[in-house]
């Protein structure tokens, strides 16, 4: 192995039931990396995981593990282990036997098994739970057993398929920290699948944003957030105002009827582009000092800040500010050069980034339908 890649996916294509799930996917994963596959349900992230785990064979392309092609190698012969959605613990075995399962298959001596299981249960803070029935555990505890069980067999790579999806918010945050700690302590590769962008941002070394079976962007959480490649990524990760614009020349963009200084270059002259401005990067100022001005159409208190929707020449902007502005106020907006991110036009242009239909009610509705959609993905 000349490079540091533990897994290489080369030109992977998969169709299931006549529908193409993955389209010519290329991805390499570095050893000891925490990599997250992020995307909406049906984007192909779980399918990617199943291909790496050996549960699904790609129609085309090569799966390379540690420099060797492993297409056709069955799951029980791969040195990767999976944390399944909804845990998949063995209900007829107690906690100890669940964790010991993989070790017993290897026919290790009883003493060694006991030692490893104890170690693993300690790692996930479940010491003393050996004899408990797995059905009597809470969701979070079951999750920990699943992690201990997978780690006990000492995998090179751990695959995690939305492992925290069934936990409540508080528990999920705790488990995020814990998972990250475990990964760093053991120094093994984690491949993590989620549709929760916040989870992805806070845990990952690398994020792979996917949609429609195609990788949209690969990068560090900072890159993905600050330099989204297209409107889909900008919208899926955090909140974004995405407006149509034109690159007048290097370092100068024109949108919303004004010209702005920016840090982007390398576009052809007068090229049509998408401009991303994060809601927290817009300063609210008195009208006469603003570069743009608009009318406040809605205000929502979010705890740390207010989320206000501002109508600027018909385009609704979302702005996060700590100062209260009443609905109907006319305010000025100031945008610094480093707040402006310019993207090439893509198929996603014009589909995202306008908050004109925005209200909390609609947001909630779309959230629930999202949860339901994620079921067939499982």
């Amino acid at each position: 192995m000349t490079n540091n890649h533990i897994i290489d996916l080369k030109n992977i294509s998969v169709s299931l039931g006549g529908e193409q799930i993955l389209k010519n996917m290329n991805l390499y994963i570095n050893d000891k990396e925490f990599i997250t596959l992020l995307g909406p349900s049906g984007c192909g992230k779980t399918t990617t995981l199943r291909i790496i785990g050996g549960f699904l064979e790609p129609d085309e392309g090569d799966v390379i593990f540690g420099g060797k092609r492993v297409n056709g190698v069955p799951p029980h012969k791969r040195r990767v282990n999976t944390i399944f959605q909804r845990y998949a613990l063995f209900p007829h075995l107690n906690v100890f036997e669940n964790v010991a399962f993989g070790l017993r298959i290897k026919k290790l001596p009883e003493k060694e098994i006991r030692q490893t299981v104890d170690e693993m249960l300690k790692l996930v803070n479940l010491s003393g739970f050996d004899k408990r029935n797995v059905n009597s555990l809470s969701g979070g505890q079951q999750q920990r057993v699943a992690i201990a069980r997978a780690l006990a067999v000492n995998p090179k790579v751990l695959l995690l398929d939305e492992p925290l999806g069934a936990l409540d918010l508080k528990l999920r945050k705790d488990m995020q920290v814990e998972l990250k700690n475990i990964q760093q302590r053991l120094g093994i590769t984690f491949i993590y699948v989620t549709h929760d962008q916040e989870e992805a941002l806070s845990m990952s070394d690398t994020i792979v944003v996917m949609d429609g079976g195609v990788i949209q962007q690969i990068g560090s959480p900072l890159d993905i957030y600050n330099e989204p490649k297209n409107a889909f990524v900008a919208d899926f990760i955090g909140e974004s105002n995405i407006v149509d614009g034109v690159m007048v020349r290097d370092f100068c963009a024109e949108f919303a009827g004004s010209r702005f200084e920016c840090l982007d270059k390398g576009f052809s002259e007068r090229e049509a582009v998408d401009i991303v401005i994060r809601p927290e990067d817009v300063d609210v100022v008195p009208t006469e000092k603003g570069m743009l001005s608009g009318v406040v159409t809605s205000v929502t208190f979010k705890g740390v800040h207010f989320e206000i929707i501002v109508d600027v020449r018909g385009f609704k902007w979302m702005i996060q500010t700590t100062d209260y502005e009443a609905v109907g106020n006319v305010i000025g907006l100031r945008i610094e050069p480093d707040a402006i991110h310019v993207m090439k036009k893509s198929v996603y242009s014009g589909r995202y980034g306008d908050y004109s239909s925005f209200s909390d009610e609609i947001d909630m509705l779309s959230d629930t339908s999202y949860e339901e959609e994620s079921v067939p993905d499982e």
Partner: protein, 271 residues
């Protein structure tokens, strides 16, 4: 009104169980009469266990019940696993095919099987109706019941646990035995007991498919009723009734225990 419903209840159970009660009582009669009760005795039980024909048919019955239940359980469980993994339209088709023998009148099953056996036997020398054909017939009619009792267990199982076993390095067949089988074992056992009881209970299919060499107990009893009546039948029927009762009780206890367990896990998931 309350009294009326009690009377009604009493009548229903009276009609259902009176004949059996009478039979049991008269099985302990010391006389041969069907009307006079002499004194309490085990005379007919004694004679029963000295009757070689009855004992032989009892042996045939038990043997065919055990063997056919074992075979049907094995085949039925594998079939259920296969059906469970099918896609919806195919699955529905298979389930329908599976259900037809269950609702089909026994006499049709019996006669059609006999015709098939005769068809084969007349074409191959040295074959005869006998224990072989009896066993095949019993296995055949038992399989659907096993499938019906195993399928719900498979459906209620988290299908990921099989994948999880593979994932932990367990080869496929071993994974199935170590993880899937324990999960569906209650269904398999219920299926076995059902197959065993149905086989023991069956008359029509055995009558048409056993030939003269391998008569089951019900067939023997039937031929006994045509000869001068012997209270041995009472004794025999009593024993049969009690055995089947015991088996039924076991099945019911198993099922209700299963239901309780399911309810518990559901509650936990809600929490």
């Amino acid at each position: 009104m309350k009294l009326l419903s009690k009377v009604y209840n009493f009548l229903v159970f009276g009609f259902l169980y009176a004949p059996i009660a009478v039979m049991i009582v008269y099985s302990f009669n010391s006389e041969k009469s069907r009307t006079n009760f002499g004194s309490f005795s085990f005379r007919w039980y004694q004679e029963l266990f000295n009757d070689d024909i009855i004992l032989k048919s009892l042996y045939v019955s038990l043997l065919v019940a055990v063997l056919s239940a074992l075979a049907a359980t094995l085949i039925g469980t594998l079939a259920a696993v296969g059906i469970d993994s099918m896609k919806a339209p195919l699955k529905r088709a298979y389930l329908m095919v599976n259900n037809i023998p269950v609702v089909n009148p026994d006499i049709v099953t019996a006669v059609s099987m006999m015709i098939l056996f005769v068809f084969v036997i007349t074409r191959i020398n040295g074959l005869n109706m006998g224990f072989g054909t009896l066993l095949i017939a019993h296995i055949t009619f038992n399989i659907p019941y096993v499938i019906l009792s195993v399928l719900p267990k498979l459906r209620g199982m988290n299908s990921n646990i099989y994948d999880a076993a593979l994932d932990l390095g367990c080869p496929p067949l071993k994974s199935f035995m170590k993880v899937v089988v324990p999960e569906i074992l209650p269904g398999i056992i219920t299926g076995f007991i059902m197959a065993f009881t149905l086989s023991l209970d069956d008359f029509v299919i055995s009558y048409f498919n056993s030939g003269s060499t391998a008569q089951t107990l019900p067939v023997t009893i039937y031929s006994m009723t045509k000869r001068p009546y012997s209270p041995k039948i009472n004794a025999l029927s009593t024993l049969l009734f009690i055995s089947v009762m015991l088996l039924l009780v076991v099945v019911n206890i198993r099922q209700s225990a299963g239901v309780k367990k399911d309810k518990k896990t559901i509650k936990k998931e809600v929490r």
